[in-house]
């Protein structure tokens, strides 16, 4: 069996027991990347140091040194997460030449656990999008059907995992950006509770909504990554205290609520797969019933208000003076230099910056931003009430199947609407994940599982239970 198909646990165990070397494994992956990248385009940058790192880990093992639980495991990192010495472009011209002088906390923690950064994964520019079409480095294609989008904005993360170009990936999820591509690519993707994972080193799009989250081919791989990166960080004031450890335990009689509004809003083909998933869970002894989340109708306007508002301010720093792309400031008056440099943002980014500036304008703050924040507390209250009755809430991750590249790119609002099922978890700060639920017309459908704040363990139990019962195929022929 090819080494690049193995899960994280097998890779680390195989390398530690010297069944195979990290070097062999990484070499295989690099070959695989070379072979499938022309079709998939999941990477912005492939690391030049990965092989060297692999050899260093092999040496440590030969020397009998302690290695971490992810020893040798190759991870791809979404290109909006800072990697010291490896350029971090956010798929934008605005950061074409940016090489961070520091590692994001998650990258440092993965490396401390022994993982190897194999490359930087493609995304929608500054994580703004749901298809990975808005990238300066070209569209990432869905490994299951390369004429279709992989979802976004962490499209490169999910595609690289599904296409067997790495074992685990880290994405970021602001309104579904980990779960959407996980769903479209038949991978497992998790967005944790707000504050569980440090955002230090994640290039901000909408700070109050987003979290870094792992993508893997199995729940087990996602747990390995989560255990390595979760926990308080003194470099991020918004992280919660403590360092949790998750496991693949079993639990009987889970109470499952199927969110009515989510299933009603989904395409028929998607709804069918999800209903079957409900049957599967019921067959495993879960008590499933329909639940209602009435205020979900306000979720999207709330999400896009907050996300664009925060983005408009976060992206102000890209004036090309300290870092960016090559454009000499000499001879320019500063306003015109800034405007000239900043006109190099892509269409969608510019659009969101202007929408964000609009909703924050004086006189509009109370009408949009404040209201949007109030919707969050309304949603949270409703969800809290539901989580008294249910251990987890489920529904489709995406209301539609992976669509053709270019299909929605000209209609921004239509594009925004596909996030309807995922933004709720971000607004409420609660954990949610997508697990492969099945296929419709040969295209993947993801099951979204949500849980109460910091109840990742319960969510993972449900996901693992479903995964064991459903036995979905994980990677396509390429």
């Amino acid at each position: 069996m090819a080494l690049y198909t193995l899960g994280a646990g097998h890779v680390a165990a195989g390398i530690k027991s010297r069944e195979f070397s990290a070097e062999e494994y990484v070499c295989q992956l690099l070959e695989r990347i070379e072979k499938v990248e022309p079709k998939v385009n999941a990477f912005v940058t492939v690391s030049k140091e990965a092989l060297e790192r692999a050899r260093a880990i092999d040496k440590m093992i030969r020397d009998g040194e302690q290695t971490g639980p992810l020893a040798g495991v190759a991870v791809s990192i979404k290109d909006n997460i800072c990697t010291k010495g490896i350029r971090t472009t956010c798929a934008s011209k605005m950061l074409e030449l940016y090489v961070p002088p520091y590692d994001a906390t998650v990258v440092k923690r993965l490396q401390d656990a022994g993982a190897i950064v194999i490359g930087k994964a493609n995304l929608d520019e500054f994580a703004m999008g749901s298809t990975t079409e808005f990238s300066r480095h070209g569209t990432t294609r869905n490994p299951w059907d390369i004429s279709r989008v992989p979802g976004g904005s962490s499209g490169g993360s999910a595609a690289s995992v599904a296409a067997l170009e790495c074992t685990i990936s880290l994405g970021s999820d602001t309104g579904g950006s980990v779960r959407c591509p996980a769903s479209f690519c038949s991978a497992v993707g998790l967005k944790p509770t707000y504050g569980l994972i440090s955002r230090y080193g994640l290039v901000s799009y909408a700070n109050s909504l987003e979290q870094i989250g792992p993508v893997g081919r199995t729940v087990s791989d996602v747990v390995s990554a989560l255990n390595a990166i979760a926990g308080t960080d003194e470099n991020d004031h918004t992280t919660a205290g403590g360092k949790p450890a998750y496991s693949l335990q079993e639990r009987k009689g889970l109470r499952v609520g199927l969110v009515k509004e989510f299933i009603e809003g989904a395409d028929l083909a998607v709804a069918k797969v999800i209903n079957k998933a409900v049957d599967t869970l019921a067959g495993q002894g879960c008590r499933c019933e329909e639940a209602s989340l009435a205020s979900v109708q306000y979720a999207l306007p709330s999400y896009y208000t907050i996300a664009t508002a925060e983005a408009s301010s976060n992206l102000a720093r890209y004036d090309n003076v300290r870092y960016g792309f090559d454009l000499s400031p000499e001879g320019y008056e500063w306003n015109s230099y800034f405007a000239k440099a900043r006109s190099n943002f892509g269409e969608e980014v510019k659009r969101r910056i202007i929408v964000g500036s609009y909703v924050l304008s004086s006189g509009y703050y109370g009408k949009y931003y404040l209201k949007a924040q109030q919707v969050r507390s309304l949603l949270k209250r409703e969800l809290k009430a539901l989580f008294k009755k249910y251990d987890v809430l489920i529904g489709p991750t995406m209301p539609i199947l992976p669509f053709k590249i270019g299909e929605k790119v000209d209609n921004p609002l239509k594009m925004y609407l596909v996030d309807i099922d995922t933004v709720v978890a971000n607004l409420a700060g609660m954990p949610a994940m997508s697990v492969p639920a099945g296929f419709a017309d040969g295209l993947p459908v993801g099951l979204q599982i949500m849980a109460d704040e910091f109840q990742e363990q319960t969510m993972l139990v449900a996901a693992h239970l479903f995964e064991q019962a459903a036995k979905m195929q994980r990677s396509p022929e390429l």
């Binding site: 971090t88 961070p100 901000s204 508002a309 870092y323 001879g331 924050l360 004086s362």
Partner: protein, 479 residues
């Protein structure tokens, strides 16, 4: 036409060791450009603000010292505007439009002559970087040079209500603020650029002009005076004063129209998502009150009650912490508070070089004088070792040389002739030389002063004039 003035004062919390949101040092002065930076204060993607506890504590102290209320919770806001010295192109600051979130609000400060000004708010915010213009001026340089060393240094902004009507009061108020922050030990006002002031001025209920960029408190009074005159002149010619931002031209000492950046309504304030609301809790105020150093007003009261100084002298001393500290150091060496206070306030102050004082921001800049000198001098006078006139002479000498007064007194043998025999001898020889005057003096008391002058001349001023005159008069009667 009545003028109205309000102030926005920025003080750097130089007493803190690290910047407001990162671990870089606050002590950026004299460092190589951009040597005092990290990813956070240079606004690199992915960095997050980490609020400095000490800065919050200091800002709390200032709020209390200015009679402000301190809320249970504070929050930070983003003020969005573009400027090349601003690494993130927004400033992290505080804002009170949607409920109180700034560290201090609704305060009141008394200053000189029982006057007072209301404090609208006290807020904590970050300093931007510094721009240097190649060729020296903003207008002529082809590019700006940017140094981010200062970016992120904690600032406290104090905003007053427009309660001032006289530029002199503005000066007095600023002196008081200076004394307070010096006493709190939160801001070393002597450091260049550590205190800055913006002033808004309106005349006769007209539009308000905001004067920015006054980098020395001493110039605020001048700037405000200039602006009042300008606005009055305009009003007298029926020209409407525009509501605008003006710059203080430090070289020419005038206010100048400045190109407007974003206006207040364009700042798009919203709460900083990366800094949770800070819960100060009820103990915050009580604990900082306890740890707060003595404030100028309390110190003044102590000087009056404990040392018996007059209110005026005590006021002069505490108006400048340097002076008050000088006084307290001196009386520790030699405990004669009134004598020492008088030497400091009336004599020593006359040697202060006004120009150097502004430049180096130290009262005794260029003077080689310390508390030990004044203590020594007071002791010499107290013990009648030298007389007051001699002491003054010695003081004028030692402020330049740094010698100890007792040393100078010994060296020049300035010790008073307290030997009655030696004095009698001197009088004897004057009487012999000035016989005509002696005769005259027997009838004319004024002539005795002439004889005294001769005695003083002969003794090179070392005689005690009082004793000498007594002896002269006695001898005139005897003869």
């Amino acid at each position: 036409m009545e003028s109205k003035m309000g102030l926005e004062i920025h003080c750097q919390l130089t007493g803190a060791k690290s910047k407001l949101f990162c671990r870089c040092s606050c002590d950026y002065r004299g460092k190589a450009p951009n040597a005092n930076t990290c990813p956070t204060c240079s606004g690199l993607p992915g960095t997050l603000p980490l609020l400095n506890q000490k800065a919050v504590e200091f800002a709390g102290m200032i709020s209390l010292a200015l009679g402000c209320k301190v809320p249970d919770e504070i929050a930070f806001y983003r003020k969005n505007y573009f400027y090349p010295d601003l690494p993130k192109n927004f400033q992290l600051t505080q804002y009170n439009a949607y409920g109180i979130t700034s560290i201090g609000f609704e305060g009141k400060l008394e200053y000189g002559d029982g006057k007072s000004a209301r404090i609208r708010r006290v807020q904590l915010e970050e300093d931007p970087g510094r721009l240097v213009y190649e060729g020296g001026s903003m207008e002529t340089s082809v590019y700006a040079l940017i140094d981010y060393n200062r970016a992120g240094v904690p600032l406290v902004e104090i905003v007053t209500e427009p309660d001032f009507t006289d530029p002199k009061d503005v000066r007095m108020f600023l002196d008081k603020i200076t004394s307070i922050i010096e006493h709190l030990g939160v801001c070393d006002t002597k450091l260049e650029g550590s205190v800055r002031c913006d002033a808004n001025v309106s005349v006769g209920g007209g539009n308000r002009a905001e004067i920015k960029n006054v980098s020395s408190f001493a110039d605020v009074e001048k700037a405000v005076r200039y602006e009042i005159t300008r606005q009055r002149t305009m009003a007298s010619r029926d020209i409407e004063v525009r509501s605008e931002t003006r710059h203080w031209d430090d070289a020419r000492k005038v206010t100048k129209e400045s190109r407007t950046k974003e206006e207040e309504q364009d700042y798009r304030y919203f709460p900083e998502p990366d800094i949770p609301v800070v819960v100060l809790g009820s103990e915050f105020v009580s604990s900082i009150r306890q740890s707060m150093p003595e404030l100028p007003d309390a110190r003044k009261d102590r000087f009056v009650s404990k040392y018996g100084l007059s209110a005026h002298v005590a006021q002069v001393l505490i108006d400048n912490k340097e002076l008050a500290d000088f006084f307290e150091s001196a009386i520790k060496i030699y405990s004669s508070p009134k004598e020492i206070a008088n030497w400091i306030v009336t004599d020593l102050m006359s040697f202060v070089d006004e120009r150097q004082k502004e430049q180096v921001r130290s009262l005794f800049a260029g003077l080689k004088i310390g508390p030990e000198h004044i203590a020594d001098l007071a002791k010499l006078v107290d013990h009648d070792t030298i007389n007051r006139a001699t002491a003054k002479q010695i003081l004028s000498q030692i402020v330049r040389t740094g010698e100890m007064p007792s040393h100078v007194a010994r060296k020049t043998q300035a010790g008073k002739i307290d030997d009655a025999g030696a004095l009698a001898q001197a009088i004897e020889s004057v009487f012999k030389a000035e016989q005509a005057a002696v005769q005259d003096a027997k009838h004319n008391p004024n002539a005795a002063n002439f004889l005294l002058g001769k005695v003083m001349q002969l003794t090179k001023g070392r005689a005690d004039p009082k004793t000498a005159l007594e002896m002269i008069q006695k001898k005139l009667m005897e003869d």
